[in-house]
């Protein structure tokens, strides 16, 4: 099950990140997870939110360059070696991880890792074969 991630182009200027978060907050959109990749001049903010379509619209309406990308969310046991199991599963295949980030789930002992993968469908198959749970967007938005 793929998940929609919103990515936003941000110049490295004071206050830009706060503008995005305030726009999202005003629409009562909740951020589940985020990661910010940056260079000297600009950054790319990646967001997992409870309502990606609405979030995308709000950003576009406010002249932000945004994009929706499919990512995969995987539940990882919050203990040593948890992540290793998943990476090992990918390691034997030709699936490439472009980037990933993680957050901890409140209701359980598990961590959730977001993977951006060049072939998400193939990655899901690999994970399922290895009996690793891929989380649906419904679950993520209800967390």
């Amino acid at each position: 099950m793929k998940l929609k991630q919103i990515s936003v182009f941000l110049e490295n200027k004071k206050g830009r990140l706060a503008e995005v978060t305030s726009l999202i907050a005003a629409e009562k959109i909740n951020i589940r997870a985020l990661s910010l990749a940056d260079t000297t001049d600009f950054g790319v903010l990646r967001l997992i939110v409870n309502d990606p379509d609405k979030c995308f619209d709000v950003l576009k309406k406010n002249n932000f360059v945004a994009q929706q990308t499919d990512v995969i969310a995987v539940e990882v046991l919050d203990k040593p070696g948890g992540l290793q199991k998943i990476l090992d599963a990918f390691d034997d295949t030709d699936v490439n991880i472009e980037y990933m980030y993680a957050f901890v789930e409140k209701k359980s002992d598990n961590a959730i890792v977001i993977f951006r993968i060049d072939q998400p469908d193939r990655a899901i198959k690999v994970l399922e074969k290895n009996k690793i749970t891929v989380l649906s967007s419904e679950i993520i938005s209800k967390l």
């Binding site: 260079t39 001049d41 600009f42 790319v44 472009e98």
Partner: protein
């Protein structure tokens, strides 16, 4: 020291006579030998017999930068190609480069003009000239080289780049004359400071700086940091290269070698010739050049003339240091750059919209060109590496078109100011 006082300090009347003779001979020659000029003169209804005096020059048509591109590469040639011994070109940043083809005699006249230039800085046989202008198709390096050779000075053909080696050689060879762009001289000063070298202890006493516009403020900075006398020199490939004009020790305007290069100042809109002191576009005619003679070339450089004899003893007319341009050409690290060329490169890249801005700055004494490009949905990617690859693609495209390194910066959409009509494409922050 005056290299050629016969011509440089000639009485005005006598000079006008020589200029008139040379102009008549030149017009006659190009009319016979260059179909391009014959056509131009015929179109204007001018025959060589109508030219009898230098003041008749106003009857002749102008030659523009666009014409120069049309005649690429050798349509201005007025001699048998076998008589050409050397060719130089401009950087060719606006599409086709401007070609200057020299006969043996032209190289002599160039050497003469450059010897006059170098002599303005008192260069003599006892001097060592550290020549940091680029050698190659660019006229700077070899122009200085030929002048120094004619004088009999020791020329050190170091060319551009490798600053550490420049400083070592400058120091070890005890060079007395420095030739480079003004901004590079300041870069040398900075680098020397970092290496703990003191220009006070070096032997350089005079610098001949050109190929880019600079100011009195910059002169003061150069003179105090490099402990030398800084002279402004001017020239352009279309005419000969460096050697068209240069400042004497009084630093009060650039003496034009007007027995070789006849200057006029015109109103760029009407083409009318203006008088001394009136600002306008500099127009130059080569009076003696054989290979590619140039008739009333519009330089697009803005200045004014002063025919008063100078304290130095020269009577040759002086032009004020450049005051600007009639077009939007930028000079970045000595390279001519037009915003339109940058636009062309950008728009060739899939997905780029024509929203860009050029920001020019002088950092650590070197010109820096930053190209701001607005991000849009077609270009955007959630992966940094794609965005960085895209930046690189732009800067490589610009490098191959302009020959200079630029810094590409992706910016947010609508962050570049839009304006009614002409967009503000260029922000020049340089304090010249």
């Amino acid at each position: 020291m005056i290299w050629n006082s016969h011509y440089e300090s000639m009485e005005r009347e006598k000079l006008i006579k020589i200029q008139s003779e040379r102009l008549c001979e030149m017009v006659d020659r190009v009319y016979r030998k260059v179909p391009f000029y014959r056509k131009r003169l015929d179109e204007k209804g001018v025959k060589p017999r109508d030219i009898d005096h230098i003041s008749d020059i106003t009857k002749l048509p102008f030659l523009t930068k666009d014409d120069m591109r049309d005649v690429y590469p050798f349509k201005l040639l007025a001699v048998d190609p076998i008589d050409i011994v050397e060719v130089h070109t401009s950087s060719g940043t606006t599409g086709k480069p401007v070609v200057d083809a020299y006969t043996r005699q032209d190289i002599s006249l160039w050497s003469e003009a450059m010897a006059r230039t170098l002599a303005m800085g008192d260069t003599s046989r006892t001097d060592s000239v550290h020549n940091a202008y680029g050698y190659g198709l660019f006229t700077g390096g070899l122009g200085v080289h030929y002048g120094a050779r004619l004088i009999g000075a020791n020329v050190i053909p170091i060319s551009g780049g490798n600053t550490a080696r420049q400083l070592a050689i400058l120091q070890d060879f005890k060079s007395t004359v420095l030739t480079c762009t003004p901004s590079y001289s300041l870069y040398l000063a900075e680098a020397a400071k970092e290496q703990g070298l003191d220009f006070k202890k070096m032997s350089v006493r005079v610098g001949l700086f050109g190929a880019e516009p600079w100011s009195e403020g910059m002169r003061r900075e150069i003179e105090s940091k490099l402990h030398l006398k800084a002279l402004d020199i001017y020239g352009l490939t279309e005419i000969i290269g460096p050697g068209v004009s240069s400042e004497c020790e009084y630093q009060d305007g650039l003496h034009i070698c007007e027995d070789l290069f006849y200057p006029e100042i015109i109103n760029p809109k009407t083409g009318d010739v203006l008088s001394d002191g009136e600002k306008g576009e500099l127009v130059i005619t080569t009076l003696t050049k054989q290979g590619t003679p140039v008739l009333r070339y519009r330089t697009r450089d803005i200045t004014y003339l002063n025919h008063e004899p100078c304290r130095c003893g020269r009577t040759a007319v002086r032009m004020h240091r450049l005051l600007g341009r009639t077009d939007d050409m930028l000079i970045i690290r000595g390279v001519n750059v037009f915003p339109s060329q940058i636009e062309e490169v950008l728009l060739r890249i899939e997905g780029i919209e024509p929203h860009y801005q050029l920001v020019i700055d002088r950092r650590e004494q070197l010109d820096n060109l930053e190209v701001l490009v607005e991000m849009n949905e077609r270009l955007f990617s959630d992966e940094i590496k794609n965005l960085e690859r895209f930046e690189q693609e732009i800067s490589e495209g610009l490098y191959s078109a302009l020959g200079i390194h630029t810094r590409v910066k992706l910016v947010e959409p609508k962050s570049i100011p839009r304006s009614e009509g002409k967009a503000k494409r260029v922000v020049d922050k340089r304090q010249l």
